[in-house]
Symmetry: C2
Subunit: 93 residues, 2 copies
Amino acid sequence: MFKDLDPLLHSQLRLAVISILVSVKEAEFTYLKEETNATAGNLSVQLQKLKDAEYIEIEKKFSNNYPQTLCKITPIGTKAFANYVKAIKQYIK
Amino acid sequence: MFKDLDPLLHSQLRLAVISILVSVKEAEFTYLKEETNATAGNLSVQLQKLKDAEYIEIEKKFSNNYPQTLCKITPIGTKAFANYVKAIKQYIK
DNA sequence: TAAATTAGTTTATATTATAAACTAATTTAT
DNA sequence: ATAAATTAGTTTATAATATAAACTAATTTA
């Protein structure tokens, strides 16, 4: 009846991050932090988890002499998000 | 941008329970256990949390000489579920 | 040159979820 | 009659997760 909800995406912050990344395709750490109202520490940890699962790619550069972290969703992440959306819909209707 | 997701409902098992209860209005412990594939222990704990929040009412009776636990959603629970649905939709589209 | 800011990471703690162990009564098989 | 299995749960110990606080490291501003 109820399909399992991917635990990696069933987290408010990680879901918000992926939700942003599916639309913009690339976003800075600071942008994600603002949009999600997350603390930097929490965001850092959760991004790492999404990266470990290969749901996102993380590129570290420098911009205006400051470190810049760019995040991008992968095909695996896109697929996982689609599955999550399908699954959660069973619960909310 | 992203509304917070009620932590009480943002849990696979509790969400599944509430999802069932909004439609049937009353369900037995054993029925919920089967439908959600939860272990009895986990279900027992999560039902208690939903009860503490007054999202559900729990009635304990006896049926065929066995204890019977009946669960029913409250107006508070119905409202909370509606809010959760509204909030999660921001994340999945 | 000291203080504040930017952009993060690491670590310790609090919260949450869950499995395992337990209670207590009932039914079934011997 | 009684031992074993089943029903219907609860309690508790542990594992997983989230998050706040502390830290790093460089930059900018006063």
